[in-house]
């Protein structure tokens, strides 16, 4: 939502959407023909694959490419494998897309026995082996780290992009599951004294209290609910030295962890905020892997050539190429924009108006930064213009008068620097 000051001296402020007092019941979507799952591993060989086209898959079955693969996906449906193909994700990330044709009438997912057995002893190993693809995309890697252990787990009950109310919905309607999820997290961290806290919008502080952890209200001004901003706020001024000892879980991930262990089967239903062309929000519940096509059909939204479908919020999301793109574990929102609502970037130079500098939450000198980035001077950008301080909220690009795709420049620069760093480390 955009609040424009009457006097206009202050730049327009972006505010998070806050969930209604009585949220509607989610619209449940069932995948019709196919689901697509992404495995975070590149498909380099076609021989010796564990997943073969035509093979039968049961709901809850773990899919791995090769016997010694670490990455996996869990099928939410029973059916047969339709195709296994390479897929290029954001920033050239190599993934493998597995398309599964669903079986007619086989809608009742069977409880997966392997997980049912493992769930009796809740712990980190079970989570790492079965729950990486849970709705809400939990990241257990920081908890698994042996040296320099995590001291704080922050549960994000506030959504970090605009329009999105997915995590708020979970906090509001599923506090019991969050509570059991928190208990599981405590078991995972074992005897270590880990501080668990939850950040929620101010109106949900009371509802979040039921989860049994300390609750912190966050401002509804964008991007104050961004995990980095919450971390600044949480750690106070001397955040230096506390690098890496904090990790984040979305409220949805915690609730799904809770459900997985109490019910003994892996939950697949992802809560999604669907925003149509008219800006009206709907809560949708669909298994991970469901194609957008099925969701669009169920909510009655029409999409034409030239429209844009965004996975994630309007500031930090990703637009997709096809209406057969699947719901991913971190797809908190799906936004459909009409062709006429799209404002394109332009090929103009920075005019130094300074709007970006005035909205940047971390005081990055964006006007200097963009000059380095435009020239491809990525190392200079990091050294002299605070490239690393950027938390990627997209605000600078939203206000840019020259309509420069600053955010994309920043992402490319960070990606290039990471690759350079990796290459240097490999050479040593």
């Amino acid at each position: 939502m955009i609040n424009r000051s009457i006097f206009g001296i202050a730049p327009p402020k972006l505010t998070y959407d806050v969930i209604d007092a009585e949220p509607p019941k989610p619209i449940s979507v069932v995948p019709k023909e196919k689901v697509t799952l992404f495995i975070a591993e590149s498909l380099e060989t076609s021989s010796g694959l564990l997943i073969q086209t035509g093979a039968h898959v049961t709901a809850g079955e773990k899919l791995k490419l090769l016997p010694d693969s670490v990455a996996y996906a869990i099928s939410p449906v029973s059916g047969s494998v339709d195709s296994v193909s390479p897929f290029t994700g954001i920033m050239g990330k190599q993934l493998t897309a597995v398309v599964i044709k669903t079986e007619n009438g086989a809608e009742a997912p069977q409880a997966d026995e392997a997980f049912g057995e493992a769930a009796k002893t809740p712990g980190l190993e079970t989570a790492l082996a079965f729950l990486a693809g849970l709705p809400g995309a939990p990241d257990f890697s920081a908890l698994a780290r042996k040296d320099d252990p995590v001291k704080t787990i922050l549960i994000m009950g506030a959504d970090n992009d605009l329009m999105t109310i997915t995590n708020q919905f979970v906090v509001k309607t599923d506090s019991g599951a969050i509570r059991s999820g928190v208990d599981i997290l405590r078991k995972m961290t074992g005897s270590r004294n880990v501080n668990i806290a939850m950040a929620v919008p101010a109106n949900l502080v009371q509802a979040a209290g039921a989860s049994g952890v300390s609750v912190k209200g966050v401002s509804n001004l964008y991007p104050q609910a961004h995990p980095e901003m919450v971390a600044f706020d949480f750690m106070g001024k001397d955040a230096a030295g506390s690098k890496d000892d904090m990790t984040f879980f979305s409220a949805e991930a915690v609730s799904k962890i809770g459900r997985a262990f109490t019910e003994g089967k892996i939950p697949f239903e992802k809560i999604i905020t669907f925003v149509g062309k008219d800006g009206a929000k709907k809560i949708v519940s669909a298994p991970v892997g469901t194609h957008v096509r099925d969701i669009l059909e169920k909510v009655g939204a029409s999409v034409k050539d030239g429209d844009r479908i965004v996975f994630g919020g309007p500031m930090t999301g990703v637009s997709v190429y096809s209406i057969d793109h699947p719901v991913e574990p971190d797809t908190d929102a799906i936004i459909v924009q009409d062709k006429n609502q799209i404002i394109a970037s332009e090929d103009l130079a920075c005019i130094n108006c300074g709007q970006c500098v005035r909205v940047c939450p971390t005081h990055v000198p964006v006007n200097e930064l963009i000059r380095y980035l435009d020239a491809g001077e990525y190392e200079q950008a990091a050294e002299r213009a605070e490239l690393d301080a950027c938390i990627e909220c997209g605000y600078c690009t939203y206000v840019c008068e020259s309509r420069i795709p600053i955010f994309q420049h920043i992402r490319l620069a960070k990606h290039a620097l990471e690759r350079m760093k990796a290459a240097e480390e490999n050479n040593v």
Binding site: E228, S242, D305, G306, I335, H363, D388, G394, E401
Partner: protein, 322 residues
């Protein structure tokens, strides 16, 4: 992925305020119109000719340069027209045509394009052009000489020149009201103070220019002029006079606020503006030039990149969160 529907795919963010460079320049031109129309009423057809020639030739120079440099034509962004308009506002109504065309050439080509075009100019192009002209042919830009054929209902002497050479007593007859209502000899668009102020406030309210620069510039003039005036009221005119005559107001609202040559951080904006005001009065009172605004602006644009290094420290990321 069998579907062939052509979706629009782009990068985040997927929202934009809708602001754009050309919208901004059209608004600045609209805001300047009040002062321009007042100038047309006062000086008649010759002033219209100067404005039309200035705007038109500025756009043509821009087109020619783009053509020669094999770059896309950029006259539709409105910047060339804006430069032409603001430049014409500084000129006396009877400026010879070749001075106008030379001026817009200097502004567009020497002031802007050779640095790389829009956004790359270290100085305000209009200021560069005017500075070169007034050093080259001061006689054509001298308001006293240029307006000699006009019959005014007020004292036709250029107040800035009068105070410079005859002392404060020479301008006692100019009340602040007279100056604000344009009852003074001046450039086409620099005399009607109230129009410039209304235009400037409109631009500030709409967020097209930065209030910090305009306000600190005027405050700098006021305070410095006041100090001089307190020291010797017979030689130095009062602060009200300095703020409302010469190029003070157009300088504060339309020249100093040019984006590319001004700072963007809060404290630097205040320093930039105040320094500009201070230098303006310094040049007017003890320098050799009649009006100091143009040269003060050149100097503060020179210090702009250094001053703008004064900025809040960036927040360091707490952790490596991917």
């Amino acid at each position: 992925m069998s579907n062939r529907m052509q979706l629009t795919v782009s990068h985040a963010p997927f929202w934009h305020t809708g602001s754009s460079v050309s919208v901004k320049y059209y608004h600045i031109m609209a805001a300047a119109m009040i002062a321009v129309i007042a100038g047309l009423v006062q000086y008649g057809i010759p002033a219209l000719a100067v404005i039309a020639l200035s705007v038109g030739s500025a756009m043509i120079w821009e087109s020619i340069f783009n053509y020669l440099a094999k770059r896309p034509n950029t006259i539709d962004d409105g910047n060339a027209a804006l430069i032409g308009l603001i430049f014409a506002m500084l000129l006396p109504a009877v400026t010879p045509w070749w001075v106008v065309i030379t001026g817009t050439f200097l502004a567009i080509v020497i002031g802007k394009q050779i640095y790389g075009g829009l956004g790359a100019n270290p100085f305000n192009p209009v200021v560069v052009a005017y500075a070169i002209l007034i050093l080259s042919w001061p006689i054509f830009l001298d308001y006293n000489a240029a307006l000699v054929d006009y019959v005014f209902s007020f004292d036709p002497v250029y107040p800035m020149a009068a105070v410079k050479f005859q002392g404060a007593a020479a301008v006692e007859n100019f009340s602040v009201t007279d100056l604000l209502l344009g009852r003074q000899a001046a450039g086409i668009g620099t005399g009607f103070g109230i129009g410039l102020i209304i235009g400037g406030i409109y631009l500030i309210v709409r967020g097209f220019i930065r209030w910090e620069i305009a306000v600190s510039f005027l405050a700098g003039i006021f305070v410095t002029a006041l100090l001089f005036n307190l020291k010797n009221p017979e030689v130095y005119a009062g602060p009200g006079f300095h703020v409302f005559t010469g190029m003070s107001l157009i300088g504060a609202f339309f020249l100093a606020t040019e984006d590319s040559s001004s700072p963007v951080n809060f404290v630097p904006m205040l320093i930039y503006g105040a320094l500009g005001g201070f230098l303006t009065v310094l040049i007017r009172n003890i320098g050799v030039h009649v009006d100091g605004v143009i040269f003060a602006l050149l100097i503060i644009s020179l210090v702009n990149p250094i001053v703008d290094k004064i900025r809040p420290k960036a927040k360091r990321r707490v952790m490596n969160y991917a």
